[in-house]
Amino acid sequence: MRSPRTLEVWKLGTVNYLKSLKLQDKLVSERKAQRIPDTLLSLQHPPTYTLGKRRTDHNLLIPESELTKIGAELHYTQRGGDITFHGPHQAILYPIISLRSIGIGARCYVETLERSMIDFASIYGVKARAGNKCETGVWVGDRKIGAIGVRISSGITCHGLAFNIDPDLKYFEHIVPCGIADKEVTSLRRETDALLPSEETIHEQLVSCWAKAFSYDDVVWKEDPSVILDSQDNK
């Protein structure tokens, strides 16, 4: 009989990208030292373009100097995947979990991330699917609705997934999203006529689908983001 698995979920609202990177670094160390349980961050970012470890900046179609004009930042990261955009009305999940505790590797982890987004989309009648080989992510037809970019160090995950609820899709015109040309980006708003509830409810639904896909027994919701966000500043 396996011991029950607990997930702690932090609802962080809108967080600056660099701040979220520092927070994840700290949480990865804590998780590695087994001082915290598996943790999930639920948040959004202000307009931000990010690159992965392979630094595929040829997929940024406007000069970096133009980014401030459109109100966006650019960050280089150690995650897998190509260039992407994060912004308001895009729901992001950053799981900081131990893959070794559940005995899975990168491939199974990513497939489960895809499944959680597919389940979430189905709540609104949207039939999404996992990407084909080399097209990791979640698609509705030929339109990408959910992106994945992950880092795993010593079996602990960080970065994660981004699901388009109703972001300003014009921002995606300045990149070759995920390095895949000729494919559109879409959003939940575009793919369904259903009435969308509040963003808070939508984020909670996405978190629930994620927790179910990863078979957690207990989900503990942490309501005060200042506990982990501000504690970093007191160094």
Partner: protein, 157 residues
């Protein structure tokens, strides 16, 4: 000719140990290597070691599209990360099973990262290291222990 083939295959079988996971797919574990619990292997010859990731590791990663290699001459420390592989939009750190100085990196992996999948113990080797302390090998698993370790890990899922 037939008998030579038979001899060759039995020699091959004598240093191969197959571990079968609960789901029935088997990953290859070689008897003459040592293994870390982060799924890297090391082959030691005198004061030189060759390091790579195991068949179990490459199966669980998916298709490798990129390998980040360290600089030659860099020091590496047992259990610490020295590079990474990318597969399915995930970068996974690779940790060294042994401390020492990097003598050589497998440049072929820049052009052909998939060698890590197709030949994890041979053409997919990642770095060669001049080792400091041969005693560190005591902390690693032999093929039997590693096979059991893989079975236990797969059973969690």
């Amino acid at each position: 000719m037939g008998s030579r083939l038979l001899c060759a295959s039995s020699r091959f079988a004598s240093h191969l140990r197959i571990s079968v996971s609960q789901r029935g797919f088997s990953s290859v574990v070689l008897k003459d290597l040592k293994y870390a619990d982060s799924h890297e292997w090391v082959k030691i010859k005198g004061n030189k070691a060759t390091v790579g990731i195991t068949d179990h590791a490459q199966e669980h990663l998916g298709d490798v599209v990129y390998v980040e290699l360290p600089d030659v001459g860099r020091s590496v420390s047992q259990g610490e990360s020295f590079g990474a592989v990318e597969s399915v939009k995930a970068t996974s750190d690779i940790n060294t099973p042994i401390s020492g100085k990097v003598l050589q990196v497998n440049q072929h992996l820049s052009e052909s990262p998939a060698l890590v999948n197709s030949s994890p113990y041979e053409e997919g080797w990642i770095i060669k290291v001049e080792i400091n302390d041969a005693g560190e090998v005591e902390k690693l698993m032999d093929s039997d222990k590693y096979s059991k370790f893989c079975e236990e890990e797969d059973a969690k899922h």
